[in-house]
């Protein structure tokens, strides 16, 4: 038996390129990020990369094997296999498999607050005409189970869903009853201010395994400034609600998110320290969207994405410091983006998907029986624009999927096919948001150079990649820890 040397197994000389995209690193223009069709990647010197693209790589150099291993190039087709890149792609797009898993029930538009940035167009507490009727509720439950997903996350939103808690209870019971035959895995979430939570409400939520998602904008003075109530005590009521929620449902069942106003952007460390003080291990730093009342009050409360990104860098550094000191505190959006960069898996967030999560990953059942592919579509309708409405709860889901609204979503719903996105190195990890582009730019396809959505995504990807790439091994470990713990939660995480 003759043994052959290494070079005998190279096969046919030469190699071909596989679909790839690249981006010069903003922090080092001599190097490029190169991504595969599924979002695997490496960073290389730009001149080496140019050699690779122009067919000049030597099979003996490490970069050749590195690029082969990531399916950026392929050598002898008789000996290579593309099965892994197909598997990676399917894994990355795994959220396509079962249809929408996130189902948002807007039980009422009524709310005690008058937040200027309100994305919901809330109604005053007494306006019961803006509550979901029983008939709508029953139809919505029927539609819920028309979808095939084996896991269903049911999220109750408003306004303030606690103001119509009987409807929440009824919906929960109808769903559980129906599920005895359906046997899906159910998750219940309620997005609420947690104000005036009664013991009865808490018991019910405990008995049905609810998770609570609330808004906490930061320290007391900031939270009350952003979220006015006539009694001026929103922060205290929120903290009371959090404590009571934790006591009855467990610490892990209560999560909080911020909404960032211009004032918020001035105090990143204070906001984060507030979350630490209250014992949270997870914080969501969400920039404002131009919906609902936020659009009307934009000039007073608005800021550019550039401002947000600067805020975010300070926040991220502060979070890393806190984690270095031994206190685990992740930022949820960072966690998702890092899981995209550092793992092969898909994630549960409907707002960063391609094909878009609107309608394909999430469905919104509004109080009045109208149905939308996303919260944003619903908010547009509340402002008078029904371009993305799917239909009504008493129609079939097939009708919804073939509605003009859904066609408009799908027509611009695949990021890889959109101008400028198609060439972006981050597109395998990114998403499309036709409704956001329509709302901000008047066109669902959108213009990427002026797109806030694009700037935000690229800015955050760049920031996180740079921190990971150039960070100390401790910082890398922290960021990897966030990514590897990434759960598969469906997270639109809109809170009242």
């Amino acid at each position: 038996m003759k043994f052959a040397a290494r070079h005998a197994f190279v096969g046919n000389p030469g190699y071909r390129l596989l679909p790839l995209r690249f981006r010069r690193l903003p922090w080092d223009s001599d190097r490029v990020l190169v991504t595969s069709v599924s979002g695997d990647w490496l960073i290389a010197q730009r001149n080496d990369f140019e050699r690779a693209v122009t067919g000049q790589l030597d099979p003996g150099e490490p970069l050749f094997a590195d690029m082969e291993s990531r399916f950026l190039i392929s050598a002898d087709p008789e000996r290579a296999t593309l099965a892994p890149i197909l598997s990676q792609y399917r894994t990355r797009k795994d959220y396509l498999a079962e249809g929408p898993r996130l189902h948002i029930f807007v039980v009422s538009l009524r709310c005690h607050h008058t937040c200027a940035y309100c994305q919901v167009s809330r109604q005053a507490v007494g306006q019961t005409a803006f509550d979901m009727t029983e008939s709508t509720a029953r139809h919505a439950v029927d539609r819920l189970f028309d979808w095939p997903a084996k896991t269903l996350t049911i999220e109750f939103q408003g306004g303030e869903p606690l103001l119509r808690f009987d409807r929440v209870q009824q919906l929960t019971k109808l769903i559980e009853q129906r599920n005895r035959t359906e046997k899906r895995t159910l998750r219940f979430v309620i997005a609420s201010t947690l104000h005036d939570l009664t013991d009865e409400q808490l018991s019910f939520m405990r008995d049905h395994g609810f998770e609570l998602s609330t808004s906490l904008d930061g320290p007391e003075w900031l939270h009350n400034l952003n979220r006015p109530r006539p009694e001026r005590d929103s922060y205290q009521r929120t903290v009371d609600g959090i404590e009571r929620g934790r006591r009855v449902l467990g610490d892990g069942a209560v999560s909080a998110l911020t909404t960032l106003t211009r004032r918020s952007l001035e105090v990143p460390k204070e906001i984060i320290n507030e979350y630490r003080k209250l014992g949270f291990h997870s914080i969501s730093l969400r920039p404002l969207s131009p919906y609902g009342f936020a659009r009307k009050t934009g000039t007073r409360h608005g800021y550019t994405i550039g401002d947000f990104l600067k805020f975010y860098e300070v926040a991220l550094d502060h979070l890393l410091q806190i984690n270095r000191e031994g206190y685990f505190l992740e930022e949820t959006y960072a966690r998702m983006l890092l899981s995209l960069l550092l793992t092969p898996f898909s994630h549960g967030y409907v707002d960063l998907r391609s094909p878009t999560g609107a309608g394909l990953g999430a469905v919104v059942y509004d109080y009045d029986g109208r149905v939308y592919p996303s919260d944003e579509a619903r908010m547009l309708a509340a402002m008078g624009d029904h371009s993305f409405a799917l239909g009504r709860v008493d129609e079939s889901i097939e009708t919804w999927m073939s509605s003009p609204g859904m066609q408009r979503v799908l027509g611009a719903g695949v990021a890889e096919a959109l101008p400028t996105c198609a060439d972006c190195a981050y597109v395998p990890l990114c998403g499309s948001d036709p409704i956001d582009h329509y709302a901000r730019q008047g066109d669902s396809i959108g213009h990427r150079p002026t797109s806030d959505f694009c700037r935000k995504q690229m800015g955050l990807f760049d920031t996180l990649l740079q921190r990971w790439e150039q960070g100390s091994s401790v910082d890398r470990g922290i960021l990897e820890d966030w990514a590897l713990r990434a759960t598969r939660r469906e997270g639109v995480l809109e809170a009242a």
Binding site: A65, A80, S87
Partner: protein
């Protein structure tokens, strides 16, 4: 090292049987028919039980003293020496050659079902060099052997050569194990190439209650893997086989022998496994067994495990953070940094295992797997020495 075969004295044996060695417990339990058992007369208690037991239709008698055997009944005498056979063991007797071979040892940490000497790869470090022979006769012998194995043996390994070369008979063997030994975990060591080449993996779906496939992967690109296994196209077939096995809901362990060219790209391999094969449930990083083809390729293959330290730590850390179980096989504790000891297993089969003189004072000898019986100086790390103290608490 304990030999697996010896010359014996035997009289009156008509055929080539597989026989289980029986003592009083086996007689009492009735699990196996006496026709397939050898009554062990070396035990005084058995002799004391007397003719009542002898009259049963035993295949024959095992004895030191031929006179102890009942007249006109077949007997076997095992001469004094290194070859040990005990109650519960299964032996294969070849009367014309006066040879007895051990096919199953009760209490061993590694009983194997050896399927064939044939293989479709020719790994540079192969410890069981393949032979192109027609040994299909082994299939029915294995099916017989399975029936004589203790029902409570925790695990068995199906190996070779390449078991998938048995074609449908591999499934037959796995099914026989599922039927006869449902409590026994089965590991099949295979290169998986057949499943990437069109053999349907789904024939194994739901077949056995506890089955894992142990499949070697040596590189993150075909040039390296195909070189190690000396077979063009092997990487592609094995990788496609892995996907086929996963689609058939099979449990998979990847095995990586730590020869020098593989270690040089171990970090990249770990990354490749995570990105492309995240369904793998276990990764075994294995010290080289210095026998077979390995000996001829020392210069290409040998790397002192002590020099692998940083790469091993990185790979183990990388995989275990990503929820993949990792184990280190065939590496003595003294060549591994202490944080890696938790991943080290006593993996060397007892019959081919030894400790070295250097181990005499070692305080962690009990936990350590030691060395292959056929290790030589040049295949032994420079760092081997007794560990005098350890910061780990005693387990």
């Amino acid at each position: 090292m304990q030999p697996l075969e010896a010359k014996v004295h035997c009289e009156q044996w008509p055929e080539l049987p597989l026989l289980k060695v029986a003592g009083l417990a086996e007689f009492a339990s009735g699990t196996f028919p006496p026709e397939r058992m050898l009554l062990d007369l070396r035990d005084a208690q058995v002799r004391a039980a007397g003719s009542a037991i002898y009259r049963l239709p035993w295949a024959g008698f095992l004895t030191d003293v031929p006179e102890h055997a009942p007249p006109s009944r077949p007997w076997i005498a095992v001469p004094q020496g290194a070859f040990k056979v005990g109650v519960g063991d299964v032996v294969e007797l070849r009367p014309h050659a006066s040879k007895m071979a051990l096919r199953y040892r009760r209490g061993s940490n590694n009983n194997i079902l050896f399927t064939t000497e044939r293989c479709n790869s020719y790994c540079l470090m192969c410890s069981q060099p393949p032979r192109e022979v027609d040994d299909g006769w082994r299939v029915s012998q294995l099916c017989n052997l399975i029936e004589l194995i203790d029902k409570d043996v925790p695990s068995l390994t199906v190996t070779g050569g390449e078991p998938t070369l048995l074609g449908k008979n591999l499934r037959r063997i796995v099914l026989r194990c599922a039927d006869v030994l449902p409590q026994t975990h089965l590991q099949v060591l295979s290169n998986g190439r057949a499943f990437g080449d069109g053999v349907p993996a789904r024939t194994f779906e739901g077949l056995h209650p506890s089955l894992t496939w142990g499949i070697p992967l040596y590189g993150d690109h075909y040039g390296l893997h195909d070189y190690i296994v000396q077979s063009a196209g092997a990487f592609s077939q094995t990788v496609r086989g892995l996907y086929a096995l996963d689609a058939a809901k099979q449990r998979i362990e990847l095995r990586v022998v730590l020869v020098k060219p593989v270690v040089e790209r171990l970090s990249e391999l770990a990354r490749f496994i995570y990105r492309n094969l995240p369904f793998v449930e276990h990764v075994a990083l294995m010290g080289t067994e210095p026998i077979g083809f390995a000996r001829a390729h020392y210069d290409d293959l040998w790397m002192d495990p002590a020099d692998m330290a940083p790469v091993l730590v990185r790979a183990v850390d990388f995989l275990s953070k990503r929820s993949m179980r990792v184990s280190l096989y065939n590496l003595p504790l003294c060549v591994l940094s202490e944080p890696l000891w938790a991943y080290s297993r006593k993996s060397i089969s007892d019959w081919k295992q030894q400790y070295l003189p250097a181990c005499e004072q070692c305080v962690v000898k009990e936990r350590c797997g030691g060395f292959f019986a056929w290790t030589t100086d040049k295949w032994t790390s420079q760092a081997v020495e007794s560990v005098r103290e350890t910061s780990c608490a005693k387990h």
